[in-house]
């Protein structure tokens, strides 16, 4: 058996090496690209002249900043909706499903058996002019022609991403609720608290870390989302991630794309830190 000193590198070494090579190094390269003068797409061994011109260009372009703000707001909305919709699912699995919880949990995870792209494409078909929703509306006589708002719009991006995230979002909340000591609920009942009081004053505070984990788990990747907006967002639903992608692909301007990516990364981290300071988890975790 390994001693305590040998355990850490043995257990943490492989994943740390993996993360260093495939996360930290690429991140450092992006940071280095963002500080490289000129445009174009070059390998890291190319000429590297330090410059902050790309950051100046991003901060000097109001359209980029507005889109970043809009993308953050969209991500907050999607994360909030996904968390609110996932919460009752997790509650039911924890407190009401009983012995069928495992079965329901398995059913909840079935969508993951289908490719992410296929699930998004399914929504493209659903929301399209000949799709299920427009056909239903026209069949019921509620509309005379296909509604254009359904596809190629920001609402289409929100609906699709919330759908994609909800099953996944339920898992951290479910894990947090499972850790709730039932004796707290029994004590609250003994002290005269009704069902609603027990829910609001015991269950919600104790499950809040899971809900917050869910929120950030959805929010962080959604800020930089570009696949779903590209497929169902049209020109109205474009997000900041699409512009970053554009600078790496359509524009062949990696330094500017890297600067935009770094700005988004720093902003996202700042928002997470600020949010965690506002909601002090140590105070809500009993």
């Amino acid at each position: 058996m390994l001693g305590r000193r040998g355990t850490l590198p043995f257990l943490a070494g492989p994943p740390a090496l993996w993360l260093a090579l495939f996360f930290v190094v690429p991140l450092l390269l992006i940071a280095a690209f963002s500080l490289r003068a000129g445009s174009g797409a070059v390998g890291p061994a190319g000429a590297w002249v330090p410059s902050i011109e790309h950051y100046q260009q991003v901060f000097g372009t109001p359209a980029f900043l507005r889109l970043l703000g809009l993308s953050v707001a969209t991500a907050v909305g999607i994360a909030t909706l996904a968390t609110l919709l996932a919460y009752p699912v997790a509650y039911y699995l924890t407190f009401r499903a009983g012995t069928r919880a495992t079965l329901y949990l398995t059913l909840l995870l079935i969508p993951f058996a289908v490719s992410y792209l296929l699930r998004v494409m399914a929504w493209k078909l659903m929301l399209g002019p000949d799709g299920g929703i427009n056909s239903l509306l026209q069949g019921l006589g509620l509309t005379s022609e296909p509604l254009g708002l359904l596809l190629y719009s920001r609402p289409a991006v929100i609906v699709t991403l919330v759908y994609v995230w909800v099953p996944f979002a339920a898992l951290p909340i479910y894990a947090a609720m499972q850790r709730i000591d039932r004796s707290h609920l029994e004590a609250a009942a003994d002290l005269g608290a009704g069902p609603w009081a027990r829910f609001w004053r015991v269950t919600v505070p104790l499950s809040l870390p899971g809900a917050l984990a869910t929120f950030f788990m959805v929010f962080i990747p959604t800020v930089g989302e570009y696949v779903t907006p590209a497929l169902v967002g049209g020109t109205d639903g474009i997000m900041y991630g699409n512009i970053i992608l554009g600078f790496f692909t359509r524009s062949a301007n990696w330094p500017l794309g890297s600067a935009m990516a770094m700005i988004m990364l720093v902003l996202t981290l700042l928002l997470v830190v600020v949010a965690l300071r506002i909601v002090d988890l140590r105070r809500v975790s009993l």
Binding site: A45, G46, A230, T235, I238, G246, A252, W254
Partner: protein, 367 residues
């Protein structure tokens, strides 16, 4: 102590990663394109990597090579715009052969990314008209092989749109929500230049600012900006979502063959015409095989497939001369020999123009 050991371990890992990343970049040869015809000392690998546009990996597009080299492993990497293809090549793509379109030739030569083609080894070279061959030449050297060609114009739904006579129909608010522009900055600059009668290779800053403002105003008219001709645009044209589109003739021929109510405009400003070119990577270990691949691209069956199955023109003049399908005759305007007189051929652009135009387009999208 444990923390400090872990820190040292992570530091060493990162340093190793940086060294590996630095070593893994594209070959550091001197700038300037390589000369062709230099034989490798070691035997060439029996595999070929192609940097292509999505859809061109279909074996119909390289059927002669597949039949001549059944044991060769051909793999594909994809780009979706000329800038993307160039970025991938500059970023160290391992492709032996790459495919891009007119206007971008000089960048590959200047960056030393392309190797000269030894045309004496191409058995189908004589079938290519001289005017086409010249498109692939820089400083008198044949760096690129011309292959597919076609038009860009306005594809429109005749049930919703009366006869189109100008590119400015893309800016017409009457078709709000039913327009689709290609997601490409240089294309947007070309269209605006046609509409305004400007020389796209000699635009002032004020003209470029005006172009940007025009496309920002045009943005709400689009259902979406399309990226893939057959994956994005054609389905939307055929299901009635898009009535007016910047399009290549392939989508037009597809919709026409399906009996959809579409037409392909000949704007008063002239259509645009483009040519697809293949280059051999300066870093390839499979030069002879790459030459063979290019030669087979010009072979009769492969070229005929490009024409009849995918509605692209092909550089093999014999194949084009044999076209008798009415849909193809219409798509290539073969019955209108005067059309080329008013056609705008895609010009070479400078790096400064490319950077300015693509950045302008990203700003348009962000608005």
């Amino acid at each position: 102590m444990r923390v400090s050991a872990l820190t040292r371990f992570l530091g060493l890992s990162m340093a190793l990663g940086l060294i590996l990343a630095a070593c893994g970049t594209q070959g550091g040869g001197s700038p300037g394109a390589s000369s062709g015809g230099v034989e490798s000392q070691a035997p060439e690998p029996n595999e070929l990597a192609i940097l292509e546009w999505s859809g061109y990996e279909a074996e119909d597009f390289w059927t002669d090579f597949a039949q001549a080299h059944p044991d060769t492993e051909v793999t594909f990497e994809f780009g979706d715009t000329d800038a993307n293809i160039l970025a991938l090549m500059q970023g160290g793509s391992q492709a032996d052969v790459f495919h891009f379109y007119t206007g971008w030739q000089q960048f590959y030569v200047d960056a030393g990314l392309v190797r000269e083609i030894d045309t004496s080894k191409l058995s189908n070279w004589d079938a290519v008209p001289d005017a086409y061959k010249e498109l692939g030449q820089i400083d008198g050297k044949q760096y690129f092989l011309p292959w597919d060609w076609g038009f860009t114009s306005i594809l429109y739904n005749t049930e919703h749109v009366p006869e189109v006579t100008s590119w400015d129909v893309l800016m017409d608010p009457a078709y709000e929500g039913h327009v689709s522009m290609w997601n490409d900055g240089p294309a947007a600059v070309a269209v605006s230049s046609y509409i305004n009668g400007w020389d796209e290779t000699n635009l002032t800053d004020e003209q470029l600012a005006e172009i940007e403002a025009d496309w920002i105003a045009q943005k709400p008219l689009n259902a979406f900006y399309w990226s893939g001709e057959y994956t994005d645009l054609c389905p939307a044209v055929q299901d009635g979502t898009v009535w007016v589109a910047y399009a290549w003739q392939g989508c037009y021929a597809t919709a026409l063959a399906a009996g959809d109510p579409v037409a392909y405009a000949t704007p008063e400003e002239g259509r645009n015409s483009w040519f697809g070119l293949y280059g051999i990577s300066a870093d390839t270990d499979s030069y002879e095989l790459a030459l063979e691949f290019l030669d087979m691209k010009l072979a009769e069956t492969t070229c005929a497939n490009a024409v009849s199955l995918f509605y692209y023109g092909c550089a093999n003049g014999d194949v084009m001369a044999a076209i008798d399908d009415p849909v193809l005759i219409e798509a290539f305007a073969i019955n209108d020999p005067s059309i080329l007189e008013s056609t705008n051929f895609t010009p070479l652009v400078t790096e400064e123009q490319r950077t300015a135009w693509t950045a302008m387009w990203e700003r348009v999208q962000a608005e």
